[in-house]
């Protein structure tokens, strides 16, 4: 087991290296650079040259990458081109916000979707099953920004019920429970987006296992249906569920920029988008790497969990 984890970690590190090179060189392919992107219509030959010289952007690409890499392995991710402050200092509060929202949404969404999925499987074909399925398909078919606007319209404007704030404005000094209240609408939006995926996967894999002969055996033993599902079917259906859950958790970290924008929530997505549009490469790299780490870690965990949930994989011959 340890050897397996070690292998995955080494592979993960190599992936990170390639990811950083890919991010760096593809961002360089975009037209314009930091100087022209910052100045926009105000650019002149003189002021763009001044900015380039000041930030060392006039050096060759490979030199700049090597420079960045040698710092990064020592934990120094460079300074933001815009503010000249260390990138990590700027990203830290954003990471905290992104993780806060992701964990908040996950804590609500994962149990909810497992519960709904199992219930739907137990009552396959019932009104409940169909209702949950239609509902989930609806929320997943609507673009997330639209879901966000709908929630704002009904829960944050005087026209309907003004229960929650439409803007999720938080900062480092916001108290914990205020934060939960203020971020309720973005959290709900994310929950609606990801529940469908996880719920349907749970239902489908449980039902697939339910077709096995040993389930029939359990029924014949006279077990009640909920016990058959929870004790016999679910453990064997876990592997695909864990993978879908991991994929959705990764989405909560890396894919929520639209939701952040709608609710003016200061997370990492917005920062990454701004950094790319302004060609603020050190910030792009740092955000990209953090996203890559999250993705790789969650996938490793999902792999390990599905191996552990399956005795055949746990004890390979």
């Amino acid at each position: 087991m340890l050897k397996l984890i070690g292998q995955r970690l080494v592979l993960g590190l190599i992936t990170l290296f390639f990811a950083s090179a890919l991010i760096f060189f593809t961002t360089a392919l975009l037209p314009g650079d930091f100087a022209t992107a910052m100045l926009g219509q105000q650019a002149t030959a003189e002021n763009t040259a001044a900015i380039r010289a000041e930030l060392g952007l006039d050096r060759p690409l490979v030199v700049r990458y090597a420079d960045w890499l040698s710092g990064a392995v020592k934990g120094d991710f460079g300074n933001s081109l815009a503010s000249k402050r260390p990138v990590m200092d700027e990203i830290k509060p954003r990471i905290a916000n992104t993780f806060f929202l992701a964990i908040y949404a996950a804590i609500v969404a994962v149990p909810l979707s497992l519960f709904l999925g199992i219930m739907a499987a137990i009552r396959q074909g019932s009104v409940f099953d169909r209702g949950v399925n239609v509902g989930a398909l609806l929320t997943i078919s609507v673009p997330e920004f639209f879901l966000g606007y709908l929630l704002v319209l009904y829960l944050a404007t005087p026209a309907h019920w003004r229960i929650f704030p439409g803007l999720a404005v938080v900062n480092a000094s916001t108290p914990f429970f205020t934060k939960l209240y203020v971020t309720f609408l973005p959290m709900m939006t994310l929950v609606l987006v990801i529940v469908a995926h996880m719920m349907r996967m749970t239902r489908a894999s449980v039902l697939q296992v339910m077709a096995s002969p040993y389930i029939e055996m359990a029924y014949l033993k006279g077990l009640p249906k909920w016990r058959v599902v929870v004790q016999h079917a679910l453990p064997n259906a876990l592997a695909p569920i864990v993978n879908v859950v991991a994929l959705n958790l990764a989405y909560l970290i890396v894919g929520v920029v639209v939701v952040e924008k709608v609710f003016v929530y200061p997370g990492m997505g917005q920062m990454l988008v701004d950094a790319v549009s302004k060609r603020n490469i050190p910030t792009v790299l740092a955000c990209g790497l953090i996203f890559a780490v999250v993705f790789i870690t969650l996938n490793i965990i999902a792999d390990l969990l599905s191996i552990m949930s399956n005795p055949r994989l746990r004890h390979p011959r």
Partner: protein, 527 residues
């Protein structure tokens, strides 16, 4: 209801400040005694109330913003900076230059020598303002290797000198009676000498630094020792960056913020429906432009330029671009709100016959390609297609080439022969012409190189007497209107919205949010 009735109604509902009301009433020709009578009925307090917290929902913020004045490109950064740092000269709502940290001035020697007296003021760190601070602050934007967007306007300066503790003398390379305008540029803000810590600016402004999270929020607190008693009324101002238009509208409707700008004119009825909200509109100089380069094929030919000018339906574009909240353009960059606006120019109208007539007279190639991108202005690609459809009906077939928004200003603008662009407007007509229509201007996007124009422009800039310069500036507009490559369909109005408890919010033709100074001009009156 006529306008006077509307105005009274607005006053009675408390939707206008005392000052706003009197200004509008005077504009309608209502006598002061009648106007003050209405005010008394509406129960107006004369003085600005102190205290309260003001929340502003602002667009135009990015996580790459900095408070360093040489870096400003959009609203959030400079509106926040304006609360803490003062300008040398300000522009008032009627486009006149008024004193700020320069309390008086005198131009001599054909407007090449300018002597300024410095306002007594103290910085937030207790230091008194003197001329050395001002020289340092101006020079931040000058010289080799300046990266400032304000540098271009200051190129006219030969020397800035502290001639006394409270006196600054500026000499120019050539005379410019409108020199106060580049000096009032939003980049040029005053900090103590040798100040460099832009993460926490120190100035003489009405508010002191509270917090700054780029692209997210900012907070400033009232500075008790501010030099100007008429500014800085609330205890605290919070800026929240809301780039999303729908959410900005929601935020003010739901009462989460007291002021927003860039109101979405398509959904403006949402605001009109709420009695505790008021709209503040001003005609401005922001304009969309199709820039045809007069120094490149095919628009070298003036006949083709004329054909295209007759081939565009400006009324339709005004509706499509700004929902009608604006003014029709007439191919001159000087808006109707400008005091020097040339009213005598004939408005060019959509006229397929005239377009065909001029097209026939055109001699060279008539193959036209319009480079379009939404980087130029909101809805620019659609506007290009609309223009294309207009022109096609007039026998002018041209191609619309969609350019990526990324790098548009870098790779397409100033390089393509026919290209979309925009200008935010300049307070002085001569400044607008110097920036984009003078032969040697860096941003001469229409390749407009007319010697007579350059000479007249230089002449107008030197001339101090009003009665002489007004006809010159009008002539300049005529030249650009008739012969230039700028096709300007419409000017945009500034549309802001405030809660009615926010008083003292005057429309400003230069820019929205009271030309960036709303935070220190307004006060809150809950009654």
């Amino acid at each position: 209801m006529n306008r006077w009735e509307e105005l009274q109604q607005a006053a009675l509902n408390g939707r206008l400040s005392r000052r706003q009301f009197l200004t509008h009433a005077a504009a309608l020709g209502v006598t002061t005694s009648l106007a003050t009578g209405v005010l008394a009925k509406a129960g107006y307090a004369e003085e600005a109330k102190k205290g309260g917290v003001l929340n502003i929902g602002i667009a135009g913020g990015s996580t790459t913003d900095s408070l360093d004045p040489t870096t400003y490109t959009d609203s959030m950064a400079f509106n926040t900076a304006f609360t803490m740092l003062n300008q040398l000269i300000e522009t008032d709502p009627n486009n006149k230059q008024i004193p700020s940290l320069f309390k008086s001035w005198e131009a001599s020697e054909g407007a090449t020598k300018w002597v300024f007296k410095v306002q007594e003021a103290t910085f937030h760190n207790g230091k008194s303002l003197d001329s050395d601070d001002i020289v340092y602050s101006i020079n931040l934007h000058r010289g080799e290797g300046s990266k400032s967007g304000g540098a271009e306007g200051l190129k006219a300066i030969k020397e800035v000198k502290a001639t006394d503790k409270m006196e600054v003398t500026i000499t120019l390379n050539e005379g410019d009676a409108d020199f106060l305008y580049p000096l009032s540029d939003y980049h040029i803000l005053v900090v103590p000498k040798d100040f460099k810590d832009w993460s926490k600016p120190i100035g003489t402004g009405a508010y002191t630094f509270g917090s700054w999270d780029p692209g997210v929020s900012a907070n400033v607190k009232r500075y008790a020792d501010h030099w100007n008693p008429n500014r800085g009324h609330v205890d605290e101002v919070n800026f929240t960056c809301i780039n999303d238009t729908a959410q900005r509208m929601n935020a003010i409707v739901a009462g989460q913020v007291d002021i927003i700008h860039r109101v979405d004119t398509a959904t403006i009825d949402l605001i009109k429906a709420v009695p505790t909200l008021a709209l503040v509109m001003a005609h401005g100089g922001y304009h969309a432009i199709y820039a045809a380069r007069c120094d490149m094929d095919p628009f070298k030919d003036p006949e083709l330029r004329k054909a295209v000018k007759y081939g565009i339906d400006r009324e339709q574009l005004l509706k499509a671009l700004f929902n009608g909240y604006g003014a029709i353009g007439n191919d001159s960059p000087i808006p109707p709100s400008d005091p020097y606006f040339n009213k005598d120019l004939e408005q060019t109208k959509y006229d397929p016959d005239k377009a065909k007539f001029h097209l026939k007279k055109a001699t060279g190639s008539t193959k036209i390609v319009l480079s379009a991108s939404d980087a130029a202005f909101n809805g620019a690609v659609d506007a290009a297609l609309l223009f294309q459809a207009n022109a096609k009906a007039a026998g002018l077939d041209f191609e619309v080439k969609k350019e990526p928004a990324d790098g548009f200003w870098d790779n397409v603008w100033l390089k393509a022969p026919f290209c979309e662009s925009y200008w935010g407007g300049r307070p002085a007509a001569t400044q607008m012409f110097t920036t984009a229509y003078k032969s040697t201007a860096t941003w001469n996007e229409t390749g407009f190189k007319v010697e007579k124009f350059d000479k007249l422009l230089a002449e107008a800039k030197k001339t101090v007497e009003e009665e002489k310069r007004a006809p010159m500036i009008k002539e300049l507009q005529k030249m650009v209107h008739e012969d230039g490559g700028a096709i300007i369909p419409a000017f945009k109005d500034w549309v802001d919205a405030t809660a009615t408890k926010v008083k003292g919010y005057l429309p400003h033709s230069m820019f929205d949010l009271c030309n960036g100074r709303a935070a220190e001009k307004v006060w809150i009156d809950e009654a």
